[in-house]
Amino acid sequence: MGLEKFKDRNIGTQNYKKLDLTHPPKSGWDRFKQVVSRTFKPELCIGLWVTLREMINALFRGKMHTTQYPLEKLPISPRYRAIHEMLRLLESGHYRCIGCGLCEKICISNCISMETRYDENQRKEVSEYTINFGRCIFCGYCAEVCPELAIVHGGRYETASEQRASFSLFEDMLTPIDKLNLQKEYQGFGAISPNADDNIKKTPLAY
C-alpha cells in the first residue's frame, strides 16, 4: 500500500474535541505580561503546600506508605507464580503426582527432572523429582499442564538461598503431612484471585 492510499483510507467519522488552549504569547510585551502574571500567581506555593501536606499526613496522620519489607510483608496474589508446591490428596495424604512427565516435557527451560519406577503396588512411583531453580523462569506451564493439579505455584518468592537444592527436591515442595489441613486448593489459571475486590481502589492521584 502506497502512502497516498494510506492517507486516503477510510477511517470512519471521528469525534475528536479540541481543547481551548491559550495561545503562546507572540510579542515581547505579551511574554512580559505572562511572566508577571505567573510571578504573582501563587502557583509555586501550591507545590509547596502539597509537599508540606503530605509530610503532615505522613508524620501525624499515620499515612506513611513505606512497608518495612523483611519485617512486614504485603499479602501476595494467590495467583502469584513463585516456588512450586507439590500438593497431596486431601483424603489419603498421598502425594498427587503420578509421574506422567508432562511437566518435564513442557518445561521450556528444561529444568524439571524426575525419576520414576514400578513400585510394589504395581503403580508408577515418583522416586525423585527436582526443579532446577537456577534455570526455572516461573512460566507456569508445568502447573498448567499437570493433569492431577499436583504441581502448582506457591507464594514463596524469597528464593535466595545458600544452596539451590534447599528448595528444589520433591520433599521440600511437598505439602508437609502435618499441614495437610492448611493446603489450599488451586483455583486454576485465569481464576479471579480471592482478594480481587480488595485490589479495586480509587486512583490515588486525587490531586
Partner: protein, 777 residues
C-alpha cells in the same frame, strides 16, 4: 527375486483415483503402504499372517468392502480407502476400543507412541456411544522380562501372531476373558464390523499358551515390540521413563551375525547422574525381529573409562613386541582392517578361531563354486517354500535363521528338513511339514548325499557321487523312519523355491573340504540355494578382511580375548576398549550386508584406532575414516561412513549400508572323497553351543540376560547327570552346573563358549563336537 523379475510381476492398481504399481499377489494394505498411502491398521504385521482382529483396515475394492490386510491386489483393481460407511465403521471400532480402556495415559509407558491414542485422535473420536460393564483383568509377570497388563490390552493379537508366525515359540495365545456378553440389540444398531470386533474382543484376553501363569519361550520380547498399547512392557523398563524422553540411536545389534537393525534408546541415568544410559532397545518390528539378546542385552558398555596415559604407553609397548593378536568377531570391519594393517606392517599373526574356520570354508566354497559369497541371504530364505537346515543348532546359533525357517512354514505353506545330531523339540512345532533327523555326529556328508539324491539331476553328477547314492541306506543311516518316502513326497507338493541353511558345525568339521564340494555339487545340480550362518557377530567381515593364521606362539595381545596383554571392552583388561554400543563403524552381517552402527553411549578412553595411529603414524582422525578403505576386491565398497543409509522404506526395502558385491572367479574341478560312515563319534559327546540368549561376554554382562554358563542337557539327560559335573576333554577339564534345556532332546550335552576366559575353543579344538567323559561332582 531379482530386479527384472520384480518389474515383470508389477501390475497397476488404482487407489483413490490415482494409478499405482503393485507386486502381483500382494495384500492391498502392503501395496498401499509401498506407495505411501495411509490405510489405518492395528492388528496387521507385515511379515506375518493377517489376524483380522481389528477390522479397521476396511477398504472398498472394485465396489466391494474388503479387509485390505488379507485381500490381494489384482490387475486393474480400483480401491477406495474411505467411504462414509467405512469411516463410520472405523470410528465405531475406535470407540469400542476405547470402551473401558483405562484412562491412565499419564503413567502408561506407551503414551506418546500408542497406536490406540493415535488412531483415536486420527479418527477424531470425541464421544463414546457404547458401554459395557468392565471385568477385572489382572496384571501379570509372564516371565523374567515380560509384564502383561491385561487391563490395557486391546486383544489385537499382534503378540500372539508374531510369536507364532515369526518367532516360532507360539508361547502365548488368546484365551477366554469372562467378560459380560454384548447386548444383542446392538447387532442391528451398530456398524457390522465394529460389532463383530467387539464381540470377539469382549470374549478374549492373552495368556501363556502352556496353560500356566508363565510363558515358556526364548524371552525375545518381540511381543513387547509389536504391542500397540502399553499392555506388554519389559519388566525392567516399566514406568522408568516416557517414550518422548528417549533419544533413538540407530545401530546394528552386535551380538550375533544377524546384524539386526536396532535403536538404542537413551536418556540420562538419573537426576544426580546425567550421563546417558540405554533404557531399552527397539526395532523396526515390521521389517526385522530381534532375539532376547538383542532386545535385552544392551547394557554391556565399558563404563567409567578415562584416558589412562600410562596404560596407553604400556599398550603401545605391548603392540610393538607382540607376535600374535588374538581377537573375537565382536569387532567392526574398520577394526578388522586395522588389525590386518598391523599384520602387514608389523608382521603380527592374527588369531580368531571362529572366523578362521569360516574363512577356510568360504575359501573352499570360492574355489569350487567360483563365487566369493554364498548364494542366498536370509530374506530370500523367508521367500522360499522349502528350507533345509544342516549343521546348525537353529534355535541357539542364530535367531534370524530360526525365524526364517519358522516363517517359511507359517507364511509360505512351506516345508522343511532339519538335520542335526542334537535333538530339538521346538523345530518340529514350527509346522506340520517338517522332517527332523537326529543323525550321528560326523554324518553331515551323508546328509548332503541324501539331499543330492533327493533333489539333484542325476545326469550331471560325477560318478563317485552317483556311486554313493543309496536313498534307503542313507535315510536309515541318518535315523529317518520307514515312512520317509511317503512323508517326503507329501511335503514336496507344490514347492518351488528351495533353500539350504548351513552352520558352524560344518566349518569346524574334519571333512569340511569334502562338505563344501558336496554343497557345490548340490547347488549346481539342483534348485537348492545355500545360505551360511557366520559363527559370530562379524565373522564374515573378519573372514573377508583379515588374513588369519591357524596357529601362533609368542607374546599375545588379546582384544576382548585371552592374551598376555588384554585390550578389552569388558572392563577387565590392561587397557580399556569401547564396547560395540560405544563405537561407530560397520558390521558385515549374514545377509551379506555392511551395516552402520552408531555411538549410543559416551566413551572417553582409547580405541584401537588411537593405538594404530600411534604405531603406524596414520593421519586418520576417526575409526570411521577407515570405512571407505575396506577392501574392494573382497566385495566391499568405497563409501564414506556418513553417507551410509540406515533404515527401511515403506515397502520393506532394507536401506541399511550396502550389500557386498559378489566376486566371481574360475571354479576348480571337483573331486569328491568317498564318505566313510565310521568317522561318526560315539559315546558321551559335548557340543559347543550357547544357550538361547547368550552369544559372548557382552551378552553375559547385560543385566537382563540370565542364562548361566553351565552344561545344558535335555531334561532326561540332565536328571541322569546330576547337579554339577566335571567334563573331561582331551586337553583339559571343565566343572559346570547342569541346567535343563527343555527343548533339547537326546544325549548330547551343550557346553557354552560365551565366556572367552574359559577358553572353550581350546578344549574343543578343530571340531564343534568332542568326545568327553562326564562325571558328577
Amino acid at each position: 527375486m531379482s530386479e527384472i523379475e520384480l518389474v515383470k510381476n508389477m501390475i497397476s492398481i488404482t487407489i483413490d483415483g490415482k494409478e499405482y504399481k503393485a507386486k502381483e499377489g500382494e495384500y492391498i494394505l502392503n501395496a498401499a503402504r509401498a506407495n505411501d498411502i495411509f490405510i489405518p491398521a492395528i492388528c496387521y504385521l507385515t511379515r506375518c499372517s493377517p489376524t483380522l482382529a481389528c477390522r479397521i483396515c476396511l477398504v472398498e475394492a472394485d465396489g466391494k468392502q474388503v479387509y485390505s490386510c488379507n485381500a490381494r491386489v489384482k490387475e486393474g483393481m480400483e480401491i477406495v480407502t474411505t467411504t462414509p460407511n467405512i469411516l463410520e465403521e472405523r470410528r465405531a471400532i475406535m470407540e469400542v476400543y476405547d470402551v473401558n480402556h483405562p484412562l491412565q495415559c499419564g503413567v502408561c509407558d506407551q503414551s506418546g507412541e500408542c497406536e490406540l491414542q493415535n488412531y483415536t485422535l486420527e479418527l477424531a473420536v470425541d464421544s463414546q456411544s457404547y458401554s459395557i460393564p468392565d471385568t477385572k483383568r489382572e496384571t501379570k509377570n509372564w516371565s523374567s522380562v515380560l509384564h502383561y497388563d491385561a487391563g490395557l490390552c486391546i486383544v489385537c493379537e499382534r503378540c500372539t501372531t508374531v510369536c507364532k508366525d515369526m518367532i516360532g515359540d507360539s508361547a502365548i495365545k488368546t484365551t477366554k476373558r469372562g467378560g459380560s456378553a454384548l447386548d444383542k440389540s446392538l447387532k442391528g444398531s451398530m456398524p457390522k464390523d465394529a460389532y463383530a470386533m467387539w464381540n470377539k474382543l469382549q470374549k478374549s484376553i492373552i495368556a501363556p499358551s502352556n496353560g500356566t501363569e508363565h510363558t515358556n519361550c526364548s524371552d525375545c520380547g518381540e511381543c513387547i515390540a509389536v504391542c500397540p498399547v502399553g499392555a506388554l512392557v519389559s519388566r525392567d523398563f516399566q514406568y522408568t521413563t516416557n517414550a518422548w524422553d528417549l533419544k533413538k540411536i540407530p545401530a546394528t545389534c552386535a551380538h550375533c551375525s544377524s546384524g539386526c537393525q536396532i535403536y538404542y534408546e537413551t536418556k540420562p541415568t538419573s537426576i544426580s547422574d546425567r550421563r546417558e544410559k540405554i533404557y531399552r532397545v527397539t526395532n523396526e518390528w515390521n521389517y526385522v525381529s530381534l532375539c532376547g539378546a538383542g532386545r535385552f542385552g544392551y547394557d554391556f558398555e565399558n563404563r567409567e573409562v578415562k584416558k589412562d596415559k600410562e596404560a596407553f604407553k604400556r599398550a603401545i609397548e605391548a603392540f610393538k613386541k607382540a607376535k600374535v593378536i588374538n581377537f573375537t568377531s565382536v569387532i567392526t570391519n574398520e577394526e578388522a582392517l586395522m588389525l590386518q594393517t598391523l599384520k602387514e606392517k608389523l608382521g603380527v599373526k592374527l588369531i580368531n578361531r571362529e572366523a578362521r574356520a569360516f574363512q577356510i570354508f568360504l575359501d573352499f566354497y570360492k574355489q569350487y563354486s567360483g563365487k566369493s559369497l554364498y548364494s542366498l541371504d536370509f530374506k530370500e530364505i523367508m521367500a522360499s517354500d522349502f528350507v533345509i537346515s544342516l549343521g546348525t543348532s537353529l534355535r541357539n546359533d542364530n535367531p534370524n535363521a530360526r525365524y526364517a525357517f519358522n516363517n517359511v512354514q507359517k507364511m509360505n505353506k512351506g516345508a522343511g528338513l532339519y538335520f542335526h545330531p542334537v535333538g530339538d523339540t521346538l523345530v518340529p512345532t514350527f509346522g506340520r511339514n517338517i522332517l527332523t533327523f537326529a543323525h550321528k555326529v560326523g554324518h553331515e556328508e551323508a546328509v548332503l548325499l541324501l539331499l543330492i539324491e533327493l533333489f539333484s539331476n542325476k545326469d550331471e553328477l560325477p560318478d563317485i557321487v552317483k556311486e554313493q547314492l543309496d536313498r534307503e541306506k542313507l535315510v536309515e543311516l541318518l535315523g529317518g523312519d520307514s515312512k520317509f518316502e511317503a512323508s517326503f513326497s507329501k511335503i514336496m507338493k507344490k514347492k518351488e523355491k528351495f533353500s539350504l541353511i548351513v552352520g558352524e558345525d560344518l566349518y569346524f568339521h574334519p571333512k569340511a573340504k569334502n562338505i563344501v564340494k558336496l554343497i557345490t555339487i548340490l547347488e549346481k545340480t539342483s534348485p537348492i540355494k545355500v545360505a551360511m550362518i557366520p559363527p559370530k557377530t562379524n565373522s564374515l567381515g573378519v573372514a573377508l578382511i583379515c588374513d588369519l593364521d591357524d596357529e601362533a606362539k609368542g607374546y599375545t595381545i588379546g582384544y576382548n580375548a585371552l592374551g598376555d596383554f588384554k585390550f578389552s571392552a569388558l572392563g577387565d583388561g590392561d587397557l580399556d576398549a569401547p564396547a560395540m554400543n560405544q563405537q561407530e563403524g560397520t558390521l558385515t552381517n549374514m545377509h551379506k550386508r555392511v551395516t552402520p552402527t552408531n555411538v549410543a553411549l559416551e566413551y572417553n578412553g582409547y580405541t584401537l584406532h588411537d593405538i594404530v595411529k600411534e604405531l603406524l603414524n596414520i593421519p586418520t582422525k576417526y575409526t570411521i575414516d577407515w570405512t571407505p578403505k575396506l577392501p574392494i576386491n573382497k566385495g566391499f565398497k568405497s563409501i564414506d561412513f556418513d553417507s551410509l543409509p540406515n533404515g527401511y522404506s515403506n515397502d520393506g526395502t532394507e536401506n541399511r549400508g550396502y550389500l557386498l558385491t559378489e566376486i566371481t572367479s574360475e571354479a576348480k574341478e571337483i573331486d569328491v572323497d568317498k564318505f566313510d560312515e565310521n568317522i561318526a563319534l560315539d559315546g558321551d559327546i559335548a557340543y559347543r553351543c550357547n544357550p538361547q540368549r547368550q552369544f559372548s561376554d557382552f551378552t553375559n554382562k547385560a543385566h537382563q540376560i540370565f542364562e548361566e554358563f553351565a552344561l545344558y542337557a535335555s531334561p532326561k539327560r540332565a536328571e541322569a547327570l546330576g547337579k554339577r559335573v566335571v567334563v573331561e576333554f582331551d586337553s583339559g577339564n571343565l566343572e559346570l552346573d547342569v541346567k535343563i534345556d527343555e527343548r533339547m532332546d537326546g544325549d548330547i550335552v551343550a557346553v557354552p563358549d560365551f565366556k572367552s576366559d574359559k577358553n572353550i575353543y581350546e578344549l574343543f579344538g578343530a571340531s564343534r563336537y568332542q568326545k568327553v567323559i562326564i562325571r558328577e561332582v
